[in-house]
Amino acid sequence: MADCGEPDGPDNKDNITRSKNEGKELTKEEKQRLRKQKKQQKKQKERKDEKGPSETEKEKTPVSLLPPRPVATQKAPSALPAPASAPIPVPASAPFHSSPTPSPADKPAKSKAELKAERRARQETDRASKQPGSSSSSIKTKAPLSELNPVVKRLPEHVQVDDPAVVKRLAKKLERQQIPLRSDYGYKVSLFSHLHQYSRKAPLTQQLSIPSTVIHPSIVRLGLQYSQGIVAGSNARSVALLHAFKQVIRDYTTPPNEELSRDLVNKLKPYISFLNQCRPLSASMGNAIKYIKKEISNIPSQCKEEEAKTKLLQCIDRYIEEKIVLAAKAISKYAIEKISDGDIILVYGCSSLVNHILCEAFEKSRKFRVIVVDSRPRLEGREALRRLVQRGISCTYVLISALSYILPEVSKVFLGAHALLANGYVMSRVGTSQIALVARTFNVPVLVCCETYKFCERVQTDSFVSNELDDPDDLMVTRKGKTQLENWQDVSSLGLLNLVYDVTPPDFVDLVITDLGMIPCTSVPVVLRVKNLDQ
């Protein structure tokens, strides 16, 4: 295959004609068409090169440094407020792509081969110049492209703690941002040795100076609250994050000779690394961060600082209002249609959205009972139980080991989600896939409730690849003054595993209730595509 970046027009044509003559016979029209395609391709490349320097500034690669020389954009031009010339390459490439299809088979092979070659060259230059952070870029993907643009989507990198090169790169990046590196704790089970495992007793603030100057105090507070579990749950974490960002924006002043739109984004990067060190970011947080960064970058440079700040604060308020509060209202409206009188509903753990739905349904005088299933070590079900009983809903409480005993009574299962992946899998608290599996066996419908801002472009089919390991000491329990597992670290063949998330395949989920409506699990990628085209 041709490995060169720049195809040479006439030479190639000669090659093509020669190869074609060996193979099929080309008609004159097809040859002309081929020549036109080559010209258009060249024009498109030139235009992309022009756009390159202006668009690289607006690109929102959160972690890596952009290569200084203009590289062809990797985002759909429609996603950015691109200059007017941008739409032209798009339709130019459109006929370019649609035309290969009617033409003979090996012609599209050739043009696609050149495309692939260019793509590979670009990818190599990217990989050579970028300095990836292992886990922090996992969520911050760029928007997926429209199928028209033949450019590569940068996929998130997975956490790779057992790869020393990656760990070294992460340490260097953190050092550059003046953020302490949190060290792993305890023995990790070998299947999960590629993930971080931190101890709650060794907070990151130990290594920070006390009146924290590098990191804004509200971010330090937020990081502490994350790592100690005071703020837990996808929605709560996102709201707390946005609240902290509001404080940061309020206290921010543009340094001289800098633009707010660029400098503020750079200020936010070390904060995000810090929060990631305290506790790995969730998909909802990642989407919220992407939104904020886009809003900040979209601030026109002639806007005054005060105006810009108020605008950003309003954007954040609006985001929370739309994506979380109103979405919850919309979802409960749809979900209440599905709850009928005499239902026995099973919920798992403490999902803020499911609790909201049940409370609303109870207020609309639906008669139902709730069974709360709980699991160690988090025992979040107790909190869900408290909130439901406080409203007056009659509840039953079981541990997950009693699931198959209680399921024959259940008429519906409502589950919350941490994130919905692009292949329709549901990522939620560990134990959810168990519940979905057993419910499927008993033919009980499983409904997952999830706001659209938690939809994520990652693709995962198992719970090993990307997960979160919590503090293994949480598994120790003290009964009658004795803790059996107190010296678990001394036993060489013993490892404690405290997983946080697991993924449920879409075959076990009957319906996903989102603020856009009730969709089947396999329609998640459609929603993602529509959402990104809107942006």
Binding site: Q225, I230, A232, A236, E380, V389
Partner: protein, 438 residues
């Protein structure tokens, strides 16, 4: 900025008058460094860059002029003087500097010597958005005999009763024995919310407090509170459970205007922050609760919270009595790793200096002197055949030949005559002991 450090160095040392009548307490030498160096060193190690030091004019003069009391700290010291005889309590001092305080504060007392991990205290303050966070430590018995005191010290002294919840972090109850008439009274509202309380008595209050800025503003309005430890802290601990603190109504404007007239309730308004709506949303959506077993939400909906970090191990001393001073002198050298013998001291060859001793700068130790477990201050002269054991000798002392000093404290500029035998005594400054004295 997150926290401002305030160092209270205006105290008189009322419980150690023998030592402090000549030297002000912040400048008493402990391990040959002035007492005020220890909290300053602690703050510097942790990462503070500026400290507001509240002290008397005398101390400020001595710090700036006297070369002996040089403090080698790299932080910027903002020294605020108050009148020595104004009898200002610590809270009064805070009120005095209210203009300088722009954010939450960390109040430290000058007589604190500790190696505690300050981030524990500050983390409680940050994570739970607490109004007060303080440090306490398990008290150690003082084993050394205190010179100048006959017999054992009375044990029925003022005890502090500290009540904490099950986790040991939340402060529920604090009272001094002096304030309690017949017995310990605990309100039912506390017991309803926290049915399990651990009451501890053997704790040393390190007098290190993280306070919210709203507390300082509250102090400015309420001029009756004069001492942090004596009045403000018990008041805040009590106020956690008072009814007005737990009202969920945030947006009631009229209510707030009414309450503004009532000075005591000012604290509540000042605790409300901007974006309360978002914080409330976060708390609603978060599946965390600090207690379980009842129907109430996290923190029982209370907005005022006091936390305490109790140190189990590690050093924490407050040098406010003579016994504490002696103990601190013995253990303070562990805190810093300077060489025990100052390089500028002229030590002659045939003297015996034990490992636990510290010799100050420009000392002159002559032959056959034996110094064990003692602290020799700067510029002291020790002549031949002197035996010094378990003692603290401050600056500028002259010890003539043949003296035997055991378990004593000799203040600065004293002269001990030849052949004196001093056991468990306290020699004041610039005193002169006759030769062959006992």
């Amino acid at each position: 900025m997150e926290l401002q450090a305030v160092l209270m160095a205006a105290g008189g040392g009322s419980r150690m008058m023998d030592l402090t009548y000549n030297t002000p307490k912040p400048l008493l030498p402990v391990g040959n460094k002035p007492l005020i160096w220890y909290p300053l060193n602690l703050l510097e190690r942790v990462g503070f860059e500026e400290v507001i030091v509240i002290t008397t004019k005398e101390v400020q003069k001595m710090i700036s002029t006297d070369p002996k009391t040089k403090l080698d700290v790299k932080m910027k010291l903002d020294i605020v003087c108050i009148q020595e005889d104004a009898d200002m309590g610590t809270a009064d001092a805070l009120r005095h500097i209210q203009q300088k305080i722009k954010t939450d504060i960390l109040v430290v007392s000058c007589d604190l010597i500790t190696d505690a991990a300050l981030h524990e205290v500050v983390d409680l303050f940050r994570a739970h958005n607490a109004t007060l966070s303080m440090l306490m430590s398990k008290a150690h018995e003082f084993t050394e005999t205190v010179p100048g005191q006959k017999g054992k010290k009375k044990t029925g002294e003022q005890r502090d009763f500290v009540g904490v919840d099950g986790t040991g972090k939340r402060l529920l109850f604090m009272a001094n024995e002096a304030d309690l008439d017949e017995g310990l009274v605990i309100r039912k509202s506390i017991m309803r919310k926290h049915p399990r309380m651990h009451i501890k008595t053997g704790l040393v209050d390190a007098h290190l407090y993280c306070l919210k800025k709203s507390v300082v503003d509250f102090l400015a309005d309420n001029k009756s509170v004069s001492s942090i430890r004596g009045e403000l802290v018990p008041y805040l601990v009590r106020k956690q459970f008072s009814k007005s603190m737990t009202s969920p109504n945030v947006n009631d404007e009229a209510d707030q205007n009414l309450k503004k007239k009532d000075g005591n309730a000012n604290l509540e308004i000042q605790i409300l922050s901007r974006d309360e709506v978002l914080l409330q949303l976060t708390r609603e959506r978060s599946c965390w609760n600090d207690h379980r077993g009842d129907m109430s939400e996290a923190y029982h909906g209370g907005r005022l919270r006091c936390y305490v970090h109790i140190m189990d191990e590690g050093m924490c001393y407050r040098v406010n009595t003579l016994a504490a001073y002696i103990e601190a002198n013995r253990l303070a050298p562990k805190l810093f790793d300077e060489p025990a013998v100052h390089p500028s001291a002229a030590i002659s060859v045939r003297c015996l200096i034990g490992a636990d001793s510290i010799i100050g700068a420009s000392c002159q130790i002559s032959d056959k002197a034996s110094i064990k477990r003692s602290m020799i201050g700067a510029s002291t002269t020790v002549r031949e055949k002197v035996k010094v054991t378990n003692s603290i000798i401050m600056h500028g002392v002259t010890i003539e030949e043949g003296c035997n000093i055991q378990g004593s404290v000799i203040c600065s500029n004293a002269v001990i005559g030849r052949g004196a035998d001093i056991k468990y005594c306290l020699v004041g400054s610039a005193q002169r002991i006759e030769p062959e004295g006992q």
